[in-house]
């Protein structure tokens, strides 16, 4: 059997390391492959505390790749919907967005709509996408805020609204990812906190998610209003 996943464990000795590993993974000894990375030397004592210096790498087969499953579900749940099949929130949002675009951007059209239990995504198309996006996305954000409010009016369970035009959000997300990872590396190295420029709530969410995955760092929003700056600092 091929083992795709592995994790490292440490203990005072071989038996302890194995015991910790099996407990953590919820596996039996027969289900895993153990490789010794570092054996404890007899001198591994530090002010009377014995160091956990016996390291092993445990190869195992994950029955339920939880993260992958989640991602798959999300993409599967997102379905392109025609107007007639939209939820009430979907229809209200669609009508409002169409009306607003009609007033402001005559050449823009709603190309397709995807809906899941929690999120409705509108994909727009225009010959001049920059006109609709606005300076650093401010127009798109405003459209989103208003559509969200009108679509969810009088509803119990609110759905998030995302408005995208061509591949603007993807591009922007990639830019933010690259930038924040770069900054995170610098903060980790220098231990000096960094304050970003103001970001929208949606963009801050991306930033917090990136930082959350990096051990030793944390991110905190600062300021009032819709657009806030974000501190990236070591914990």
């Amino acid at each position: 059997m091929e083992f795709k996943d592995f994790q490292d464990f440490a203990g005072k000795n071989y038996d302890e390391a194995v015991e910790i590993a099996l407990k953590t993974l919820g596996k039996t000894k027969e289900e895993v492959n153990i490789e010794v990375l570092q054996e404890s030397s007899g001198k591994a004592k530090f002010f009377g505390f014995s160091l956990k210096s016996f390291k092993i790498r445990v190869f195992y087969h994950q029955d339920k790749p939880e993260i992958k499953e989640d991602q798959k579900e999300e993409t599967d749940d997102f379905q392109e919907v025609a107007y007639d099949n939209m939820s009430v929130i979907g229809k209200k949002s669609y009508d409002f967005l169409k009306m607003t675009l009609g007033y402001l951007f005559k050449d823009a059209e709603i190309e397709k709509v995807q809906e899941s239990d929690e999120v409705i995504q509108f994909f727009l198309h225009s010959e001049n996408p920059d006109m609709i996006i606005g300076k650093s996305g401010i127009l798109l954000e405003s459209l989103q805020v208003l559509t969200y409010l009108v679509g969810n009016k009088h509803e119990d369970k609110w759905k998030r609204i995302l408005i995208n035009i061509d591949d603007y959000r993807e591009k922007r997300e990639t830019d933010i990812h690259d930038f924040i990872r770069n900054i995170a590396g610098r903060v980790k190295k220098t231990r000096r906190p960094f304050l970003t420029r103001p970001y929208s709530p949606y963009e801050r969410r991306i930033i917090h998610m990136i930082i959350q995955e990096i051990p030793g760092l944390e991110s905190v929003s600062e300021g009032n209003g819709l657009y806030k700056k974000v501190w990236i600092k070591s914990r």
């Binding site: 007033y103 954000e141 208003l146 409010l149 009016k153 209003g225």
Partner: protein
């Protein structure tokens, strides 16, 4: 500035609970136009939004129309 008026009317009527009470008075100046928006007292907080974010979004979008007419358009929400 009929277009701006129409636009604000359309948006605000969708937001509020009493669309029939939405009234807009247009005051034309030389370089700017003022839209005086009046809504039902129950709806004022809805139009302004938490931290003014709804009013800000409406004003941002009005900027699109203003940009085309080369005139400033100011939205005033009367209480």
């Amino acid at each position: 500035m009929d277009k701006a008026k129409e636009f604000v009317e359309g948006i605000v009527r969708s937001i509020v609970d009493h669309p029939e009470d939405v009234k807009i008075k247009v005051v034309e100046g030389e370089k700017s136009t003022i839209l005086e928006l009046k809504v039902n007292p129950e709806d004022v907080s809805k139009v302004i939004g938490k931290g003014g974010r709804i009013a800000r979004a409406i004003r941002t979008l009005i900027g699109v129309i203003a940009g085309r007419s080369n005139k400033r358009i100011i939205l005033e929400i009367l209480e």
